[in-house]
């Protein structure tokens, strides 16, 4: 992993608070991510990990706090959604491909309609991305005809087609059958190796240990511990981290 340039972090999350229907989910979360970092967030369910991701791309508005991605202020009132979505891509647990469009159309729709890029250029890029995720021969298939692992790879390609600077992965292998998890993780590994900034919420500890260069553990809406993967996994400092890791490893 590249040594992050210390001239200002790429993603700044500062002291964010979020409640759903009176129940606090995030209670003062702060972190900073440099360009090229691969960050993994782990923790028990309900600890707020997915919510952090969804606040970064403004899917969920924060109650309090400050988020900045590059030079875009996510928490500001005059947020330019299109610019944010150009910069931040997201891949969901349930893939969320559009079932009424072919695989290729799923990739090209948004760059053409939202970013107003020319069709020929977008199509070429989409085909290259499909080849990269090893689904080049499925360009004209419909999502319903693909397996879960294939759909998730298409979802990753769709996020990549927007040419983002950071991709958020929200438990992307949790809904997959075990034999398909590997193919999706290898795609993510490749993307990370190519230098993409990644924020990954996952339960796959082996993958996290190997691919991440920064780990975060959340519990009860706060970040309890963070650190480099090796130290984090072999010698967790906090009792809660220790207890969680002993259950999942």
């Amino acid at each position: 992993m590249t040594d992050s340039g210390k001239n200002g972090a790429f993603i700044k999350i500062h002291d964010i608070y979020k409640s759903f229907k009176g129940v606090p989910v995030l209670r003062g979360v702060s972190l900073e991510i440099a360009k090229g970092d691969v960050v993994c967030i782990i923790g028990p369910s309900g600890s707020g990990k997915s919510t952090i991701l969804r606040c970064v791309n403004a899917l969920t508005p924060v109650d309090q706090g400050f988020i900045q991605v590059g030079d875009i202020q996510v928490t500001s009132r005059d947020l330019n959604m299109v610019a944010l979505c150009h910069r931040v891509g997201m891949v969901f647990q349930q893939y969320n491909l559009f079932p009424h469009k072919t695989v290729l159309q799923n990739l090209t729709m948004a760059p053409i309609q939202v970013l107003k890029q020319p069709r020929a250029e977008v199509t070429e890029r989409a085909c290259a991305l499909l080849d990269k995720v090893r689904l080049g021969n499925k360009a004209d298939a419909y999502p319903g005809e693909l397996s879960g692992g294939q759909q998730q790879r298409v979802a990753i390609a769709r996020a990549l087609c927007m040419q983002p600077e950071v991709i958020l992965f929200d438990e992307v292998t949790a809904a997959l059958d075990p034999e398909m998890v590997g193919e999706v993780l290898s795609v993510i590994r490749e993307i990370a190796r190519d230098g993409m900034t990644c924020m990954i919420v996952t339960h796959e500890m082996g993958f996290a240990r190997e691919a991440a260069n920064q780990m975060y553990f959340t519990d009860g809406g706060v970040i309890v511990e963070s650190g480099a993967p090796d130290a984090f996994f072999s010698n967790p400092k906090d009792e809660r981290t220790r207890s969680f890791l002993s259950k999942v490893l």
Binding site: C85, F92, M109, M162
Partner: protein, 280 residues
């Protein structure tokens, strides 16, 4: 009518029964059963007529009045087509309005939908017949709004409200993941609805829309109560003209069979479409 019953799903550990087996072409068994039903109905009408008075030429009387009643039936169909076309257009807007993020659009839409869905069709019909002016002046010209036009407007109102509910139901049945994916790709609300959500909805809306049309057509005889000369009015005129008590049963049965022959295929086709879309 059976749209709203709860469906048990995997979340309660109960899975839905397997879809019915399809044999060969999806249409042939439908077509045969529709044709059989039509034949059965025609047969029943013939039997009734002959039973009521074979020797007195009741069958001939039925045939004699057929063109006159067909004229009326054509008006029934015309009213239903007017109401379904304008009702569908209005219903789409009202349905989308119910789900609009801005409260000043969604609240009145919801209220209007509930009011006009829960009012009896006959009351709405009376409303329009009595309260829409007979003549209206636009520009310098006076236009007469005929009886059947006022009746058609009276039928359009409940269609708008009912279709608005169908649209709302279909829009809400799209999983929230679709909205989220579109949002994270930068789509605005309007773009999401037009490019992602509505195309998926059309399939879901088709069977209930067809059902609604059938219900509408079967409601059009109500217009006879307010004096529109459609098939029911014409049938009664025919009965009064003939003044033959034995014609009552066959003539009403005859008229019923016309509606049956028109509506039964619609019901069957919409059912088979619903099954076909659900198997997906």
């Amino acid at each position: 009518m059976s749209e709203n019953h709860m469906k048990l799903g995997p979340q309660v550990g109960i899975t839905l029964p397997e879809p019915k087996q399809r044999s060969g072409l999806a249409f042939s068994p439908e077509l045969t059963s529709i044709l059989l039903a039509i034949l059965a109905v025609v047969g029943i009408v013939l039997i009734l007529t002959l039973l009521s008075g074979a020797d007195t030429g009741l069958l001939g009387e039925l045939l004699k009045w057929t063109p006159f009643m067909a004229q009326g039936f054509a008006l029934n169909v015309a009213i239903s087509l007017f109401a379904i076309v304008f009702g569908t257009i209005g219903g789409v807007f009202l349905g989308m309005g119910q789900l609009a993020p801005r409260g000043w659009i969604s609240a009145p839409s919801k209220i209007l939908t509930q009011i006009f869905r829960n009012a009896p069709w006959l009351v709405l019909l009376f409303y329009c017949i009595f309260l829409i002016p007979f003549q209206v002046r636009i520009g310098g010209e006076t236009y007469t709004i005929s009886n059947w036009l006022r009746a058609s407007i009276g039928f359009t109102i409940p269609i708008v409200a009912n279709f608005s509910e169908i649209v709302r139901g279909a829009l809400q049945s799209i999983p929230s993941g679709q909205w989220e994916a579109a949002r994270s790709l930068g789509y605005t609300w309007r773009q999401t609805v037009l490019s992602v959500v509505l195309p998926q909805c059309i399939k879901r809306m088709l069977p209930p829309w067809m059902n609604l049309y059938a219900i509408l057509l079967m409601a059009t005889p109500l217009a006879s109560i307010v004096g529109v000369e459609e098939s029911m009015t014409n049938a009664r005129t025919a009965l009064q003209a003939e003044a033959d008590g034995r014609l009552l049963l066959p003539l009403y049965a005859y008229l019923l069979s016309w509606f049956f022959i028109y509506c039964y295929p619609i019901a069957r086709i919409s059912k088979s479409l619903e099954d076909r879309f659900a198997v997906r």
